[in-house]
Structures are given as C-alpha cells and as structure tokens.
Symmetry: C2
Subunit: 150 residues, 2 copies
C-alpha cells in the first residue's frame, strides 16, 4: 500500500487523536505521570491500514481499542518529538484538531524541559491539556486541585 503523506494528514484530521493522559504514579516525585499519545482508531475491517500506517511512521503498535475497534498507538516520546510533531508541522491539519496538535506539541516541549517533574510545571501542563478535546476533563481537574492543595 503506497500512502501519500498528505493523505495521512487528511486521514488523521478525520480519524486521529492527540491525547495527553495524566495518571497517578506514586513512584514519581510529583505523584503523577504525563503520558502523551498519538492514536488512530479504526474498525477491525481496516486493521491492514493501521499496519500500513505503522509502517509509514515506522513506529507504534497496533492493538485492540475496544470491541471490534483497533488502534495504532504511538507513545514513544522520542518518536513523538522527532517524527510525529515535525510530520504534522510539515503536513498541515485543517480541522480544529490542528489546535489540539499545537497544544500536544507545547506539552511535549515542556516535557523535554523536564517541566512535568515539578508541581508548577505539571499544573501548567494540565491547564493546556484541559483546553484539548478530551473525555476525562473531570479527572484532570481533580488532579490539578490535589496538586494545588497538596
């Protein structure tokens, strides 16, 4: 399958997700782990395409998302920073997802500077993440409250 980079940008504009998870992680000094992730979810019938996209990026893993849906997921920080961000800087997104991508890049930048390892930095990251399109706003707000009060 020969995939054009601009096709990938268009497809991700429709089907991709730039997500930043924030999870409890007692082993870390600040108590929470920041987990940026790029993913594309498809119905099982298009699992071959997910593998083709995995080959295209030469990164990530194809795994079950839920039920009959599969995802290509890229979590490797080095790859997100050195490949994924430059790719979508070059091949522009056109939907409002572009703004999620910009926030995603900002958070990665802060992480490169180690900001996620301090309380202040983590609060800043959560504030950016809260402006992204996400289903778990409540959880992130709770964590922010705990950080401020704790």
């Amino acid at each position: 399958m020969q995939i054009d980079p601009n096709w990938v940008a268009g497809f991700v504009d429709g089907e991709g997700t730039f997500y930043v998870g924030i999870n409890r992680q007692p082993s870390m000094k600040v108590g929470y782990q920041v987990l940026p992730e790029f993913r594309i979810v498809q119905h099982q019938k298009d699992i071959k395409l997910l593998h083709a996209l995995r080959n295209f990026f030469n990164a990530g893993v194809v795994r079950v998302n839920h039920d009959d849906r599969y995802e290509l997921r890229i979590r490797d920080m080095k790859i997100l920073i050195s490949q994924i961000v430059p790719f979508f800087q070059k091949h522009t997104l056109h939907t409002q997802k572009k703004f999620d991508f910009i926030k995603f890049s900002k958070i990665l930048n802060l992480m490169v500077q180690g900001k996620h390892l301090t309380k202040e930095g983590l609060i800043k990251i959560i504030d950016i993440a809260l402006k992204m399109n996400r289903a778990d706003k409540k959880k992130a707000i709770e964590i922010k409250k705990k950080l401020i009060n704790g």
Copy 2:
C-alpha cells in the same frame, strides 16, 4: 486555506460518504428515483473547512446535516461523473470505503446508460447499493421486493 488533493482523499477516507438513495417518485415511469450523493459531515466548529472543500471541488452545497452538524453535499450528476469519480480514481482511497466508492461509480455508470429508468436496471442498481455501507438496507430491500412483485 490551501488544500492538497491527497489531504482531501485522506480526509474523505475518514469522513466522507458515498451514498445512493432510492426514493419513491410517482412521476417516474419506474416509480422510484435513484439519488447518488457524495457528502462530508462535520461538526459546526469546522464549517469553514466544509466551505473550503466546496471551493476545492467548486461544487455542492453546505447545509445542516442534523443538530450541530453540517455537511457538504454534492448531488449534481454531471459533477459526480465528470469530477468526483475521476478525482477519487486519481487520489486513491485506502480504507474499505474504497469499495463503496467503486460501487458508487458503477451505479453512476449504469445511470449514464439510463438503466435506472427500467425495472431490471433499477433492481440491479439496488443490488449494488445493498452491498454498500448504508443505514437503510430495509427500505431498499422493500423497494426491490415491490419492483419484483409489481
């Protein structure tokens, strides 16, 4: 907004629909009208993109789909045949939607030959349309039954 044709193919692979409606139309000899349609539905927040895609294709109309969702819809047969089909023949789709597109093209081809105006042709078109990804299979099956029995 400068849109790359391959971006459009990728976006349509995720967000586009090739649909063939079959509706009761007493004014037609065969009693039913075949209505092929290409559409892209987006949330209201991306309505500007729908207009940009309208300009890209230089065809169609941007209108409400339902609730806060809008669509670019192209129904003009001449444009579907002379522009939309050649476009996606050149800029290949990679998901299973490709097979919907191929069936869509086949039906357009049959319509160019006037097949939709005869009972036998219409049944053939419905058979192809039933193999496409559609929500209203029951309706199409009912129409087919009526044509065979009527």
